[in-house]
């Protein structure tokens, strides 16, 4: 065996080992579902009476719980269809990467409710949620297809810009927050889901 052949062999082995660790479930249905739920949440949020930070946090916690439950069911359905274990090593890695920033986001929400902070805090909380969600997605992106990291960056940049605007100018009309949440969370997921429908490689049915 020539040294350059050995080097090629090593490169192939490295690529295969990386592929083995990557999460391979189809993301298009999950992203689309989260997008629809997010947009519906944004629209419905404007119709519901939300006069306090507590109501805002609890409302979006419910929306997040619906999105998480749907995601869980969609992923579980895929694993059943493919006759593969649900709690596979890549699923475990992705979950472990997602959890810390999401827990911090939930903790901030609990603190806002617990301390009965004024409604004005919601804008800052929403911006922090965007940033933390971006961090979670970016961390999970190390074990998922490459586009996920860019998706994480999208939330980090958007969250950073919103934070900047809030610090510099405040937020005039607080009802805009539900639109912002629905538009950025829901709209981004829906757009990415549609993109994935056209680009994600269809896995063979088992």
């Amino acid at each position: 065996m020539e040294p350059n052949q050995a080097a090629e062999h090593l490169q192939t082995i490295r690529t295969l080992m990386e592929r083995s660790a990557v999460y391979r479930r189809a993301l298009a249905p999950v992203m689309t579902f989260c997008g629809v739920i997010g947009i519906a949440g944004g629209v419905a949020g404007n119709w519901l009476p939300m006069n306090s930070a507590r109501a805002f946090v609890l409302y979006w916690a419910v929306v997040a719980a619906v999105a998480l439950t749907g995601t869980f069911l969609l992923v579980r359905r895929q694993s059943l269809k493919d006759a593969e274990p649900f709690w596979s090593p890549p699923t475990r890695r992705v979950t472990q990467a997602l959890i810390p920033p999401l827990v911090v986001g939930a903790f901030l929400g609990v603190m806002v409710v617990w301390l009965e902070l004024p409604r004005e805090i919601c804008a800052m909380l929403a911006a922090l949620w965007f940033l933390l969600y971006g961090l979670a997605i970016h961390a999970a992106g190390f074990f998922m297809p490459r586009g996920l990291k860019l998706f994480g960056w999208w939330f980090l940049i958007s969250g950073g810009l919103i934070f900047q605007v809030i610090l510099a100018r405040g937020i005039g009309d607080e009802s805009v927050l539900n639109w912002l949440m629905g538009g950025l969370f829901g709209g981004s997921h829906l757009a990415y889901g549609i993109y994935l429908y056209f680009t994600e490689k269809r896995r063979k049915a088992t």
């Binding site: 295969l16 080992m17 592929r19 391979r24």
Partner: protein
């Protein structure tokens, strides 16, 4: 060039299909038969043959169970498989190093 490292390469692992299987299993505690098949684009028969050879060598362990009333075959590397794979990588690296300009 010293041919010694090349002569020591494990013939069972050196085959392209089996090396691919070993590489995937080395990066994951266990993979299902379908995950291996889909990732490598192998046919059922081809993958079964390679797995049987690796199992006979003691490099791979197969466990059969049921998940939601459907048979589930899970594959993983044995301790001997991990050792053989690590040894194989070391030899490849040795071959690459041999020809590096000093």
């Amino acid at each position: 060039m010293n041919p010694e490292p090349f002569l020591q390469l494990d013939r069972v692992i050196h085959e392209k299909g089996r090396l691919a299987i070993m590489s995937l299993l080395a990066a994951s505690p266990a993979l299902s038969f379908t995950e291996l098949r889909d990732t490598l684009g192998m046919t059922d028969g081809n993958l079964t043959t390679h797995l049987r050879i690796l199992q006979e060598e003691g490099f791979v362990a197969l466990s059969k169970s049921y998940a939601n009333k459907r048979p589930l075959t899970t594959c993983s590397l044995t301790a001997a498989g991990k050792k053989a794979f690590t040894g194989y990588i070391d030899l490849l690296e040795q071959i690459v190093r041999q020809n590096k300009p000093r």
